[in-house]
């Protein structure tokens, strides 16, 4: 093509600054435990776990169109397998991550039949899987039904070492999972994932391997949520099945993603941060806190269906962690087009993801 041929752009000026900012923030977070109180370190650990949960649910539902209300199954299994592996003699910290791999492995056979279901069937089917798994875990003598058990082997480490170690593990897990997810969604597989979300039949007709791609996303999300469950166990030590297999975890994920902005990479992170702040400030208000959460989610889905970040992105063309593609046509290029495009249109219109 000639010198005036179109150029594909993956980033913006803002996104290049954002990349540096992200690196700085992670570096600051890494040294933060030296300056934070014990309570604050624990809270930050919770925040990292929320970010993982939100990012995973967003990848699944916002990018892949796989809306699940049963993701607590992987959260619960992440904790449960950690207990089991630690009981078998594995170092508890190592057990957390081996557990997540086991969760990923378990999600593969689940995907074989669950991914045959579409939309509402899939969503509710996942909830059924979660409820069933909860019951099965209760049968394990080690867990003692709803009495639960503890990750006692973690107690050999003193409280402050443990707290900081878990903080770093959570930070590292969050960073690594976000990086993997970003790489996946930004690559050609990410384009396939979004195509499947928008029209599965059309995606198949242009050569996208629909089932395999969905499976990859499903297993990755299970793995990530498994890590989150294992880390949550590490922070709270005790394991009661009904706490971990509770649908509230998926409700939190949905809340974070809806409020932050479904289908945008930044949105899930923003949503997790907002949820964290709301919980920090109002979490003590008991039932009213939950009612407030529900009302907020409802208000967002009615008034700002694209969430905070989605709305910002649409209004200001702001993209900090873009996974999409933008075509820049040099001004002197001739357009052979039916609809005439103004230069403003080609530079400001943005896609959903």
């Amino acid at each position: 093509m000639s010198a005036a041929s179109p150029v594909i752009e993956r980033g913006t000026a803002a996104s290049r600054i954002a990349a540096i900012a992200v690196a700085l923030i992670i570096a600051l977070l890494a040294i933060a435990p030296q300056f934070l109180s014990a309570g604050a370190v624990d809270r930050m650990t919770a925040l990292f776990i929320y970010v993982i949960l939100a990012a995973m649910w967003n990848a699944l539902a916002g990018f892949g169109g796989l809306v699940s209300v049963g993701q607590q199954v992987f959260f619960g299994l992440g904790a449960y397998f950690s207990i089991r592996l630690a009981d078998a003699g594995l170092n508890p910290f190592v057990a957390l991550f081996v557990s997540a791999i086991v969760v990923g492995a378990v999600s593969w056979p689940i995907s074989l039949f669950m991914l045959r279901l579409r939309n509402g069937e899939f969503a509710i089917g996942m909830w059924v899987i979660a409820a069933l798994t909860h019951l099965l875990v209760n049968l394990d003598r080690l867990v003692q039904g709803e009495t639960g058990t503890s990750l006692i082997s973690l107690n050999v480490y003193d409280a402050s070492t443990r707290r900081v170690a878990i903080y770093w593990l959570a930070l590292a897990s969050m960073t690594a999972l976000l990086a993997v997810l970003f790489g996946l969604l930004r690559g050609s597989t990410g384009a396939a994932i979004r195509a499947i979300r928008d029209n599965e039949d059309a995606a198949a007709s242009v050569g996208v391997r629909v089932t395999g791609t969905k499976r990859l996303l499903f297993v990755l999300a299970a793995f990530g949520i498994g890590i989150a469950g294992a880390l949550w166990l590490a922070t709270s030590i005790t394991f009661q099945p009904k706490t971990y297999f509770s649908v509230q975890w998926t409700a939190y994920m949905i809340f974070m993603v809806l409020v932050g902005g479904i289908g945008t990479f930044e949105g899930a992170i923003l949503g997790a941060l907002l949820f964290f702040l709301i919980e920090t400030w109002f979490g003590g208000a008991g039932v009213w806190y939950l009612i407030g959460l529900g009302a907020t989610a409802l208000a967002f889905s009615l008034l700002l269906p694209r969430g905070l970040w989605g709305t910002l992105e649409e209004r200001f063309g702001l993209r900090l962690l873009p996974v999409g593609y933008s075509v820049r046509i040099p001004v002197n290029a001739t357009l052979t087009t039916g609809e005439t495009a103004s230069p403003a249109q080609t530079t400001t219109s943005r896609e959903k993801a």
Binding site: M1, S5, P6, I8, S188, A191, A192, R194, A195, R197, D198, N199, D201, A202, A203, A204, S205, V206, G207, V208, R209, V210, G263, G324, Y325, S326, V327, I329, L335, T336, T337, G338, E339, T340, A341, Q345, T346, T347, S349, R350, E351, K352, A353
Partner: protein, 246 residues
């Protein structure tokens, strides 16, 4: 597998398709060469789109076999047939609404044609240019009008680098000028040695490209051959005037 008598690129034999009690395709035999341009006409409900869906692998036939490039593809899903070079467009456009026009086409170039990043960019841009869509490359597909959605169907199918392209009424609703552009685009595809099967109601557009015409009615092929001869066939005229074959 079907033994091919000649160099047919596509050979569908004994195709039946039933939906419950409804017989939509009734013993269709259809073969074509690699660089043929075949038009398909017929009244509404004749089974034209269903035939395209069976050929492209959107759903399997109730009976019969489809062979492409000498291999039996009857059991292959649409994804695999697309990767072999058998690509379709949809009568009712199915854009990836949340993605930009460029991204729609890029998906086909990177997955359908299996191209690496830079090659896929080039292929996608080339398809957009050929279909006159560069100007709306950054528009979210759900914001496109019907005309552009139809163009996008074509651009996206092209980016998958088909050897045989199945077109389903991409000319519907076009003005004469737009139809002229479309014919030019299809002629360019013919120059690139891409085989074409084109279902179209607007016969005069079709006849500018098709070297062979098939008329379907009630799930059967009622005429097949030289376009002018097919259009003059009494059975075809009767089918079009609503009398149906006697």
């Amino acid at each position: 597998m079907t033994i091919l008598p000649n160099a047919a690129i596509l050979d569908a034999a004994g195709i039946h398709k039933r939906f419950g009690a409804l017989v939509v395709l009734d013993d269709i035999d259809f073969a074509m060469g690699a660089d043929e341009a075949v038009g398909i006409v017929g009244p509404n409900g004749a089974g034209k789109t269903t035939l395209l869906s069976v050929l492209s692998g959107a759903y399997p036939p109730s009976a019969g076999t489809v062979a492409f490039k000498g291999g039996d593809v009857t059991a292959l899903p649409a994804t695999a047939r697309c990767r072999l070079g058998l690509v379709r467009t949809h009568q009712v456009p199915k854009p990836f609404g949340g993605m930009t026009t460029f991204e729609n086409v890029f998906v086909a170039a990177s997955h359908g044609a299996g191209l690496k990043r830079d090659e896929a960019y080039e292929e996608a841009l080339g398809s957009l240019k050929l279909c006159g869509m560069l100007g709306v490359a950054n528009r979210r597909a759900e914001t496109l009008g019907l005309l552009d959605r139809k163009r996008l169907e074509l651009a996206r199918a092209l980016a998958a680098r088909p050897t045989l392209l199945l077109l389903d009424e991409i000319g519907g609703g076009l003005t004469d000028g737009e139809a002229g552009e479309l014919v030019e685009t299809i002629r360019e595809l013919r120059r690139r040695k891409i085989g074409i099967v084109w279902i179209e109601h607007i016969v005069h557009i079709l006849l500018q490209v098709a070297e062979r015409l098939i008329c379907m009615d009630a799930g059967k092929i009622i005429a097949d051959g030289d376009p002018q001869a097919v259009m003059a066939n009494p059975q075809v005229i009767s089918a079009y005037l609503g009398g149906g074959p006697k």
